[in-house]
Amino acid sequence: MKSLQKIDIAARDLSEEVHDANFIGAKMKSERRYAALERDYADPDKLRETAGLIKQHTLENLDTYLEKAEAALQRNGAKVHFAVDDERAKQVVLDIMNEHGCKSMVKSKSMLTEEIHLLDFLEKNGKEVVETDLGEFILQIDHDHPSHIVTPIVHKNRRGIAKSFEREGLGDYNDDPETITRRARKFLRQKYLDADVGLTGANFVSAESGRIALVTNEGNARFCMAANKVHIAIVGIEKLVPSDRELGVFLNLIGRSGTGQQLTVYNQFIGGPKSAGQPHGPEHMHVIFVDNRRSEVLASDCREILRCIRCGACLNVCPVYRQSGGHAYRSVYPGPVGAVLSPLLAGNRFPELADLPKASSLCGACNEVCPVNIPIPDLLLRLRDKAKREKAGDAMKGTPDLTMWAVLCSQPTMWKTALKMGHTMNYIPTEMIPHPSAMSWQSQRKLPKFEGGKFRKWFKNHKSN
């Protein structure tokens, strides 16, 4: 069927194995999230709402907070850089590496580096880069990309991973997850010791202290700041929060929302280069604040999406994500958050991703679980309106044109006539209606019996009695 939406095709064609891994993984995390929040808080919604307001406040005063963060970091001895877009961000990273004579990099997980395709760029420029998050490392050796923000290889299974490890010379075929993990530990440990620079993202930045908060479970971000002398943190400008105090709100939410953990195992707060007496760790810290169209999103009527703290809760609960998997979204950010953020970050490539906001039944589960209370369905609707106004073709695929319907519904007389005429529907086999929407509907469901006007007639008689 030509009229099918890309995400629907992806869901239809997803192998059962990947579908099940994705579906079960998402469902399990969603249940854990719910259990953890209900166990630990009398009123989790109050916490979510407050977190949302804090982020919204920060975004709507972003110039002030960004200046504060810059000043604080400089005070702490870090060097602050700015990059307007992906090209500039990559160049700044390369320049820093060259300035310090660095050849090799270990990096921890950062969605922003996926967004700007940092790895390819550095490798093309002769640098060695190793992803150290286990999932990201597996994606790197497979030349694959994440299908989930938090659990990047939810689409892979142990057998495929074992084969990849064998191919890369990391040992004979062994698909025991513990063995896989130990082998990665051993291999990556040497990389940490050899690397010149460690690169991290940032989950939050405290404007008041300049501290960058990093949230991980594996400890790889710690290792990216232990044996090397240079640390680069690459940060989207939307990551700011006013002060250290607010970190308490977000740390309590991000682990519970993402994986159902009270806290992730490691929460790091990095304000600058290592302290004077410390034998290990970076002597130089560089922080790169990247815009890459975030200020355009800030200017749009979808700015609430910049509150996102990348916990993945909306992906996990989303019935469409559960069926289609992350790769169906054809962008760095999948799921409900991606359906809003990806088209916005695409700039003039908006039409290519304008179908994503359509991939939702608008059920609102995403908003219900969002730790920063982003009204995702409203934003999806705004983008649908934008796609329609800008005539983004793919977005309208499979959606019936409702112009005539609107005329009908705004003319009561016509509407009542239609209610009478609709009865003809009951006299033809509805499977025969040659309309694509009707056919699509009928393939899985029966249509109800038409009884237009019956209630009106009853009411009239009822009232006159």
């Binding site: 469409v320 309106d385 329609k388 899985q444």
Partner: protein, 239 residues
């Protein structure tokens, strides 16, 4: 507000809503010019068409009487969606006022009229689909409160109560594969506890998963919440 679905397909749901409200002493008016709330176009991204339909509703429902709708989704369109569709329009205040007096049926009964016990009787086991548009509203609590007070009625818990049935208006036709998988899960969760009745507060959802049950030959009785309330009153001899 009858809703276009009840106007065209589900006359008894609308009738039950009237009977229930009249039992509670309400005087019901049925403005003849009513059509639809505009939601299909709004969700499809055709906001210009949605506004056209809503402006017609503005004319049809003047004054300050409460507007009661036997559908969480249509009610939410009027009190929430419409505000988005009109945010840059000059008649936003009128739309806001319309939304301000629009209620989902059971929310109106419990929070508008202050009824917290339902004097009905219904010997049955029931599963309830919490329609997505009730999310964040007072309706789900209102519905559980009333159902819990009906004599003889047992509400069975279901798995994945927060999950959507896969209808989503034009979503169901534009994404038939995803919608089908979602619907099948919903049908499975709703029927697994072996209820006598599957109930919902939205005929949109019911048309979708009910149509799916028909196709699959699952004959479990389906009722709108208004019908449950009305029939239980009849059984108790109250009407």
């Amino acid at each position: 507000m009858t809703t276009c679905l009840c106007d065209a397909f589900y006359a008894d749901v609308a009738q039950a809503s009237v009977e229930v409200l009249e039992y509670l002493g309400c005087d019901i008016e049925l403005p003849d010019g009513q059509t639809c709330c505009g939601q299909p176009a709004f969700n499809a991204g055709d906001w210009a068409s949605a506004r056209k339909v809503l402006r017609s509703a503005l004319k049809t429902f003047p004054g300050d009487k409460p507007i009661v709708v036997p559908s969480g989704s249509c009610a939410a369109m009027v009190f929430h969606g419409a505000l988005l569709a009109f945010e840059k329009e000059t008649d936003l205040p009128e739309v806001k006022a319309l939304g301000g007096r629009t209620w989902e049926l059971v929310d109106f009964i419990v929070h508008g009229l202050g009824i917290t016990e339902w004097p009905g009787k219904l010997d049955a086991k029931l599963t309830f689909h919490r329609s997505c548009h009730l999310r964040g509203s007072e309706s789900p609590q209102a519905i559980s409160t009333l159902l819990a007070s009906i004599e003889g009625l047992e509400v069975l818990p279901i798995d994945e109560v927060e999950q959507c049935c896969g209808f989503g208006g034009t979503f169901a036709v534009a994404f038939p594969n995803v919608s089908k998988s979602m619907g099948e899960l919903k049908v499975e969760n709703l029927t697994k506890p072996e209820p006598d009745i599957v109930a919902a507060a939205d005929m949109g959802c019911m048309m979708h998963f009910g149509g799916m049950m028909d196709k699959k030959g699952i004959e479990t009785k389906r009722m709108h919440i208004a019908q449950v309330l009305r029939d239980s009153l009849k059984n108790a001899g109250k009407i």
